[in-house]
Symmetry: C2
DNA sequence: TTAGATGCAAAGGCTTTGCAATTCT
DNA sequence: AGAATTGCAAAGCCTTTGCATCTAA
């Protein structure tokens, strides 16, 4: 963890960005909760107590920087808000299971199949990034629906803006 | 094509939506250009000449309805604007190749691999939809960069909002 | 020292919504 | 007739930006 942060700092400097306190705390939060998918607002809320001076616009600007150098990745679950996840160098390729009822986003290891890569390379398309998401109901919500605890589709989160 | 539209109309009625002139022209446009990925604004522009009265908010509301009944699908290329594509019943599963330089979005046949589906089902996750996108440079832009016609990365479209 | 980064408030841009008028069924 | 739909304008919401101030290097 400490090493991850040290590497990140040197990467930032190498890319001609400064290592500011704000960038450090934001990156540290994302790295510490590498399975979470934070919105800018959530990051701001999470850090506000310890860093009362942190501005929301700084969070937004920092996310742009961190994504630019490849330390984090942006994810869109379809609700009109960008979410971000830490992206370690050795991060395994994964896709997202997005529950349309509770909004939970879960990673699942799943490499891009060779057959798919071949198809794309055949198009002479140079891949630099990818995103694979599956929408549906997580096991938790499926169980709750089956047990009659929730049944009204109106309870679904509003995924399509 | 005519049959597609007829089926669509009966589907709308079955789902308790009315078949209005606005819904018809919008659906007809999307169905006629099934390989395109229209933004609400583009749909509005495309139809304004023939239907001067069509309002942009009606386009937005119609897109919600058409997506709700499963006639179209929403796509996010990461620029903060929603795009929509016609989704026929017999549409082959496909993913999107999104060029980060020219913004072109291209479909490519590519079914969800069985191994991936198995992994997800193992999580007891009930899939209702999915989205697979690959970002990078299309063959056209790759060629232009190689030929020195474009080289400044600043020309890239701004994909991350 | 000084170019880059931050905070705040204001502006932007896409999308949604209130409401009166219109139109499918 | 009556409820759904439409258009317009206004509002919402997430995100970006201008600018004076601050700060890492």
């Amino acid at each position: 963890m400490q090493e991850v942060l040290r590497d990140a700092k040197s990467l930032l400097r190498r890319e001609n960005y400064r290592c500011t306190a704000q960038r450090e705390v934001i990156l540290e939060l994302l790295a510490r909760h590498s399975r979470r998918h934070y919105t800018a607002e959530e990051i701001h809320q999470s850090l506000r107590d310890e860093n009362p001076q942190l501005g929301l616009s700084t969070v937004y600007r920092t996310l742009v920087v961190l994504e630019d150098v490849g330390l984090i990745r942006r994810l869109d679950v379809g609700d009109g808000v960008s979410r971000y996840e830490f992206d370690a160098d050795d991060a395994a390729p994964h896709c997202h299971l997005i529950c349309i009822r509770c909004g939970d986003v879960r990673d699942i290891a799943c490499p891009v199949p060779q057959e798919m890569q071949s198809l794309i390379e055949a198009e002479s398309f140079q891949i630099t990034d990818y995103s694979m998401s599956f929408f549906g109901m997580c096991s938790h919500c499926t169980r709750r629906v089956r047990d009659g605890k929730i049944g009204d589709p109106g309870e679904d989160i509003h995924l399509m803006q």
